[in-house]
Homo-oligomer: 262 residues x 4
């Protein structure tokens, strides 16, 4: 397998995680390790405001090993997201990642479903690309929007499987499949994955990577679930490369019976 | 995690495989190793008749490490299956497994779907249990039949996910779920699994083990797929034990926003 | 379309209903009419014991127009079911259907899922056929069991879509499809249908008829739902006969564009 | 039930159809009648260029009874769609519908999946609303885009179930459900419906109306399928209003057994 390359940077792991919703910093630290991830997304606003559960969070990970993916969670408009993206870049620099220009772009006006705004996301993406960011936009699974984002120079697209934190699994497979078929940039399935089977399924479809947070953080045993997701992402990727058996309408015996024993 | 125990014998791996449909003996050997399995099922009739692809097959595995699960594939009636089961026990003995009394019971009158006969299976199971076999019956996912088989003393039940060799995945989840909830003996999901995501899903539901053959043997790269299935079975089991997050109707943000940065 | 023929008797409607779970006798009467059904199943035991909600129930329908289908609900064994079937025949006679030999056979040992026992059902069916009954057995969707029941002379098979009264919809489509393909007697999908879309889907698959009770009786507006089920069963049957369009992987424009207007 | 109201105009039928893909004008005419529809969409470009199968098509329907819904099929950009919409209005006037300002807006740059462009669609919608059109935009099932279109004054939103002409059924239910919950304008499920069961399901979810063309035109017997869709749409709507039974995890017997007969 060739490694995952995003904006020229190479990663071995195809599973990204987050830092939110854990019951303790220790649990988060252990889960990040168990997940085998090399990219962790961090909500810039929550860190900068020391939101509950976010005190010292940015400092709690080993940024020599983990690549920070600042995100614009909590931004309702393109303007807000652009401002927060710039703060994110500063945050990454302060934590020692001088050349980190990654931003996970979230423009989310809606509080109930946390679904991203296609118009505001495209506007912000265009501006942030101009400012030199490697933009990873969180989007509804709309193949035409994905194409626009690729055209304006985004580093990946991150279509959602289901609403953030819902754990509903792959509810948008038909559209994600079309995005994968047509995308020249990595496709990272983000949000909604609730179980390793769903992580594996997304990878079997040919997704380049996954971002999973809630399903790990909210499991009864987070670090065990993190490790399960780690294995599942690898299993799904291997299966994609190994070439799965064709699906048959009927049964096929293990081999023709050429004789019988009595 | 506690180990899998079948008829008093303990296994670490929860993935069982087979020997049929491979393109070569070497590929089969490598796949068995990559799968990490400890139990391999072998069609007694095919081995004894040296069916094409089965010459030397029984000798091709290291039976010091692998527990043989002889199966009665090709038997249309209870009587045939009982006879072949006895031959299977001899075969295991000849290959050095003196105390191996396992038999995977298949009674399959239908050639198109290879679906098992509930009546013949129950009859054969009753007789074989009396003869001291540890009976692992292959069945349609019928919870009441599973209960009968448990009541007559079977060592496991092996409900099918979909027709043998079809790779259709989990088509009988509702019934398998009920079987799992009610069974006091191990539930081994057998037949129809086509991809690691499906293997993981069955384990997440609480299945005790899986038997996968076609999806490995017919993959373009069999040993890679075997390894993927190995990981997926572990991932699914770990997730089952780790306790997955609840499924939500709506989105849940990673944490409440308690302030904003401007 | 040719009519539905069961045991030599012809019916125009392909939707059967029941009498249980209604909030009042009037609601039941209106719903039976709105459903357009010609066959109504009645629980022999409940009627004979005047169970709550069943007082006068048998008398509440116009048995000149409706064909009674006595059922053996509440029977745990073949023996019980056979006894109750005989009582059912008497009941039909008393209500004026002298030649009615129909019996909906239910042998249900399990109280939680109300799943039928394949062994007891087959035993009772064999006996009842010998006694001249037209036997309509309620079964799990097991194609091999369906074959056995056809072989012993049953008038139909009635595979379940999902547990009785669950409203979960078609959870056993793969097996029902195989039963339909192979059955020479009518296949009546029974239990689990919760919405008209599911009724239509079963008919589109080629089912010969449906039996729906809870989804009608437990709707907020039972008679409106009964009429919706009536239409859906007809729609599904018509679609089956009309021959549906093939499913395509990609989009197909409404017609090729041979020119453009500017 | 209250009638369907779009841009102040009232309709009894909730099923819209089209004119494309039929094998003959006669078949189209019969199917339109059998469908019971009151709105038929017509591709302006195809009619104006007399594309094969479209000669005389506009004249073949009784526009005293059928409300014309001109569409902008074949338009790749907002500009094209705006021009064609204006032509559509002229076409409706010429056919006697002086006050018809409806336009089904399609902006589709992609030839393989025929998926609509969210950006171009929103731009064109804004302009057309300003010009006094009642705009019915065809969109991917993106709740945020649907909100934008409602905000700029569209008359409906028409989210797709699956790619046009694919007959794949409801592949975007999770998002369509959210659109329905949040929309103050009618939600018309458009494209991808292949069978009456799917038509019923969309209506059961609370969709206000459906647009179905290929599944009717490409059925072996188009007019029979048109009638089946007609019934299914009514059945689905009735079920939505009737209030379906809750879904249960377990079985519920038709009534408690309070006695037994022996």
């Amino acid at each position: 397998d060739s490694p995952l390359v995003i904006a020229g940077k190479t990663f071995k792991s195809r599973l990204m995680t987050g830092t939110g919703k854990y019951r303790s910093i220790e649990e988060m630290q252990q889960s990040v390790i168990a997940s085998g991830c090399e990219i962790v997304t961090v909500a810039v606003r929550r860190v900068q405001t020391n939101a509950p559960g976010h005190e010292g969070l940015a400092q709690a990970l080993d940024w020599d090993k983990i690549w920070m993916l600042p995100n614009t969670a909590g931004c309702k408009t393109a303007e807000e997201a652009i401002r927060v993206a710039r703060l994110g870049r500063e945050m990454a620099k302060l934590l020692g990642q001088e050349d980190n220009n990654f931003i996970k772009l979230e423009v989310i006006p809606d509080a109930k479903y946390l679904l991203p705004d296609p118009i505001g996301t495209l506007q912000a993406a265009e501006q942030l690309v101009k400012e030199g960011f490697a933009v990873l936009p969180y989007i509804n699974a709309d193949p035409m929007l994905a194409k626009h984002l690729e055209d304006v120079g985004c580093a990946t697209v991150m279509p959602l499987a289901a609403p953030i934190g819902s754990g509903q699994g792959l509810k948008t497979t038909a559209n994600i499949q079309i995005i994968i078929e047509n995308s020249k940039i990595p496709v990272v399935v983000d949000a909604g994955i609730g179980a390793p089977s769903q992580a594996a399924e997304a990878m079997e479809m040919g997704a380049d990577a996954l971002l999973i947070n809630s399903a790990i953080a909210l499991a009864v045993n987070s670090s065990a679930m993190a490790y399960a997701m780690n294995l599942a992402a690898i299993a799904g990727r291997m299966a994609y490369l190994a070439g799965r058996m064709p699906i048959k309408d009927y049964a096929i015996a293990s081999s023709p019976l050429t004789g019988t024993v009595n």
